[in-house]
C-alpha cells in the first residue's frame, strides 16, 4: 500500500474523507481520545466544524438535496476503514512459484511439519509437563514464603522459555532488564497472547488478562495466579474501579513482581496500534513502556481471535522455521503536571509506536465488540445539528442552545431513529435497543 510514514497520526478525521483538521495540534488530541463521547466537546466540535465547512449555506436546494458528502463518507468507510486495517493480516508474498523454488519449498514444508513439529511438540510436552508437575508440587508442599514465590517465578520463567524454544524463538531484548520497583507498571503493545510468554521467558511479569476457556483457563488460574495475575472479563467489567484498585495495590507492594498491562485491550496486527486505555496511566505510578515488534519473515505472529482459535495459532507458530522478534524496554515515564491520564497514555503510545514501527489509529480496540454509533449517538446528533442549524437559518430562525434535558431526549430519540430506518423490524433494531438498555442499566460496555 505504500504507506511509508509510520508512527504518525492519521491526519484526517475518521469517517470524514478529505477533511483535514486545520490545527496540527489537534492531531495529538485525536490520538489520546477514548473515542467520541457525549461529554467531551473537543472532537465533536471538530466534526461539527468539518460538517459546517461542507455546507453551502447559500442554496437551500443544495444543502438539502446534495447528500454527496455524507454518502461519500459512508461508502468510503465501506470500502476501507482505518479500524479494520488494524486487524487484518497481510498475506505473505508467495515465493515458491517457479520450478526451482517450488521443490525447495516442498522440502521445507516436509521438514517443518514432519520433522521439526513432532520434535518440538515432544520436547515441549516433556519439558512443560515436568515443570507443571514440579510447580504443583512446590505449590502444594511448601508453605507460602519468599523462597516459594521465588521458586515459582523461576519455574514459570522456565515454562515460558520452553514455549519460546518450541517456536524456535529468536528474540532480541534491547534496553535494561526490568527489575521489581515500587510504584511501577509496565505497558506494552499487544499482538497475541504469546507476547506475555515472550516477555516472561526473560523476566517474570504479572499480568491482567482476559479470562479464557478450556485448558488456557486452567493454566491461567492455577499457575499464573501464583505470580499475582489479575483476571477480568472484558464485556462485563463495571469493576473498572475494582481493577484499578487492585492494580494500585499490586504496584504498591514491596518487591511486587512487575505488573504488565496491555492498554490496547485487544490483539492488534503489529502494524497499527489502537487507542491506549487510560486505566494503567491513572493510578499514579511510573510507566515503563515495552515495545514488541515481530518480524514477519517466517511467520505472522498476529493472533486474529475472530478468525482462528488459539490452538491453530500455536500450531502455525510451531510449524514455521522460527519466530523472530525484537523487544525494547524503554525509559520509564511519569505523568507530567499538566497532563491528563489520557494524554499521558497517548504520549507513551507514541513512544512505543516509534520503536515498534506502528501507525497510531484513534479507535478504541473494544469497537470490535460493539457498534460505535449506537453507543455514542451524541456524535451523530452533533453532526446532524449542524445541518439543522443551517436549515433553520433559511427559515429565518436562530437555534437556541439545547438544554441538558433536550440533549438527553435527543440521545434517546437518536437511538430510536437508528432503529427507524425503513420501518423494517429486525435484528438491527433489537441490537440497538439492547445496547441502549445496557447503557441505561449502568453497565459499562467500556471497561479499563
Amino acid at each position: 500500500m505504500g504507506e511509508l510514514v509510520k508512527g504518525r497520526v492519521e491526519s484526517s478525521l475518521p469517517g470524514l474523507r478529505g477533511i483535514v483538521a486545520d490545527d496540527k495540534d489537534q492531531e495529538h488530541a485525536l490520538v489520546t481520545r477514548e473515542g467520541p463521547t457525549k461529554g467531551d466537546a473537543e472532537i465533536d466540535q471538530l466534526y461539527a466544524e468539518a460538517e459546517d465547512k461542507r455546507l453551502s449555506k447559500t442554496s437551500l436546494l443544495l444543502d438539502v438535496l446534495n447528500i454527496s458528502n455524507v454518502l461519500t463518507d459512508g461508502v468510503s468507510a465501506m470500502v476501507d476503514d482505518s479500524f479494520n486495517k488494524c486487524f487484518t493480516s497481510t498475506r505473505p508474498e508467495p515465493w515458491n512459484w517457479n520450478i526451482y523454488l517450488f521443490p525447495i519449498w516442498v522440502v521445507g514444508v516436509v521438514i517443518r511439519y514432519l520433522v521439526l513439529f513432532p520434535i518440538r511438540v515432544t520436547l515441549l510436552f516433556i519439558g512443560f509437563n515436568t515443570l507443571i508437575v514440579v510447580f504443583l508440587l512446590v505449590d502444594l508442599t511448601l508453605m507460602p514464603s519468599k523462597r516459594k514465590m521465588a521458586m515459582q517465578r523461576k519455574l514459570v520463567q522456565w515454562m515460558c522459555s520452553a514455549w519460546v524454544a518450541a517456536w524456535h524463538g529468536v528474540i532480541r531484548y534491547h534496553g535494561p532488564k526490568p527489575t521489581p520497583g515500587k510504584n511501577r507498571i509496565w505497558v506494552s503493545n499487544h499482538t497475541s497472547m504469546i507476547d506475555y510468554v515472550v516477555l516472561c521467558s526473560y523476566s517474570p511479569f504479572a499480568v491482567i488478562m482476559q479470562l479464557h476457556h478450556g485448558w488456557i483457563a486452567f493454566l491461567q488460574k492455577r499457575i499464573l495466579s501464583s505470580l499475582g495475575c489479575l483476571w477480568f472479563n472484558r464485556t462485563e467489567v463495571n469493576d473498572r474501579a475494582v481493577v484499578a484498585a487492585r492494580m494500585k495495590d499490586h504496584v504498591n507492594k514491596e518487591d511486587a513482581i512487575p505488573l504488565l498491562i496491555f492498554p490496547e485491550g485487544t490483539c492488534v496486527n503489529n502494524e497499527y496500534t489502537v487507542m491506549f486505555k487510560r486505566g494503567a496511566f491513572d493510578i499514579g505510578a511510573t510507566v515503563c513502556p515495552v515495545a514488541i515488534k515481530y518480524n514477519k519473515i517466517f511467520v505472522d505472529a498476529f493472533w486474529n481471535s475472530r478468525r482462528e482459535a488459539f490452538g491453530k495459532h500455536l500450531f502455525r507458530l510451531m510449524t514455521s522455521w522460527a519466530l523472530v522478534c525484537d523487544v525494547y524496554f524503554l525509559e520509564p515515564q511519569s505523568i507530567q503536571p499538566e497532563e491528563s491520564p489520557q494524554e499521558f497514555a497517548g504520549r507513551v503510545q507514541a513512544m512505543i509506536a516509534k520503536y515498534a514501527n506502528l501507525r497510531i489509529v484513534p479507535w478504541d480496540g473494544y469497537l470490535k465488540y460493539y457498534n460505535l454509533g449506537e453507543k455514542n449517538p451524541g456524535l451523530i446528533e452533533k453532526r446532524r445539528r449542524v445541518l439543522a442549524d443551517v436549515l433553520r437559518a433559511y427559515l429565518g430562525k436562530t437555534s437556541a442552545a439545547p438544554s441538558a434535558i433536550a440533549l438527553e431526549k435527543e440521545g434517546k430519540a437518536a437511538v430510536e431513529l437508528q432503529s427507524d430506518g425503513k420501518g423494517q423490524k429486525g435484528e438491527v433494531e433489537g441490537v440497538a435497543l439492547q445496547g441502549w438498555r445496557k447503557l441505561c442499566v449502568g453497565g459499562t460496555v467500556h471497561p479499563v
Binding site: L62, S68, T72, D80, L372, E410, G421
Partner: protein
C-alpha cells in the same frame, strides 16, 4: 464464486462484475473490493448483513448509515460493486446523480415525495429540527425545485445542476 489462486475469483466472475458496474473498475480494483467484501462478510455467507456494515466504526457514526445500509439490502458481491461504482473516479456525473436519487427516494417509487424527504431530513438533520420546521423546509425545497408535489429524477438533476460532485470519489486501495 469459483475457487482460484487469486482469493476465490475467477476471470469469468471478474468480467461479469465489470460488466455489471459499467466498466468503471479495472481488474485490480475488483480484486481489492473482493478482498474487502470477504473481510466484511464474516460468516462467508455470500452477502453482507446490516450488522456487519455497522460494525465499521466510521460507518456507524455516519448520519445516514441506516439508510445506506438498508438501501443496498444484504448485498452480494456484484451488488456491492454496483453500489461503489458511482464513486469511482471514472464514473459519470449521471451515475452519481442516479445513486443520490436512489438513496433519497426512500420508498423506491421513482419520485422523491414529501415523505421521502421527511425521512431523509430526519436522518440528516436529526431531531433538533422540529416537525414543523422540517415540513416548512420541504415545502420551500419543492417550490424552488419546480413547484411539483414531488421530485422526479429530472427535477432532482436540475436542482443539483450547480453542485460540484467532484469530491464524490472513493479510492479503492490497490496492493501494488
Amino acid at each position: 464464486m469459483g475457487q482460484a489462486a487469486s482469493g476465490g475469483l475467477t476471470q469469468g466472475d471478474v468480467d461479469e462484475v465489470i460488466a455489471a458496474s459499467k466498466g468503471v473498475f479495472n481488474q485490480a480494483e475488483i480484486e481489492s473490493l473482493y478482498k474487502r467484501f470477504r473481510a466484511l462478510d464474516r460468516g462467508h455467507k455470500g452477502y453482507i448483513s446490516p450488522e456487519e456494515f455497522l460494525s465499521i466504526p466510521e460507518l456507524s457514526i455516519n448520519p445516514v448509515a441506516q439508510r445506506l445500509v438498508r438501501c443496498c439490502e444484504c448485498p452480494n458481491f456484484t451488488t456491492f460493486v454496483k453500489m461503489v461504482a458511482p464513486f469511482s473516479p471514472r464514473a459519470s456525473r449521471e451515475d452519481k446523480l442516479v445513486f443520490m436519487f436512489t438513496v433519497y427516494d426512500v420508498d423506491g417509487d421513482g419520485f422523491i415525495s414529501r415523505e421521502d424527504m421527511s425521512m431523509m431530513l430526519k436522518q440528516l438533520a436529526g431531531s433538533s429540527l422540529s416537525e414543523e420546521d422540517r415540513q416548512d423546509i420541504i415545502s420551500r425545497v419543492l417550490e424552488q425545485a419546480g413547484g411539483a408535489e414531488r421530485l422526479d429524477f429530472a427535477a432532482f438533476k436540475s436542482a443539483l445542476s450547480s453542485a460540484d460532485l467532484g469530491n464524490m470519489v472513493v479510492e479503492v486501495p490497490v496492493d501494488l
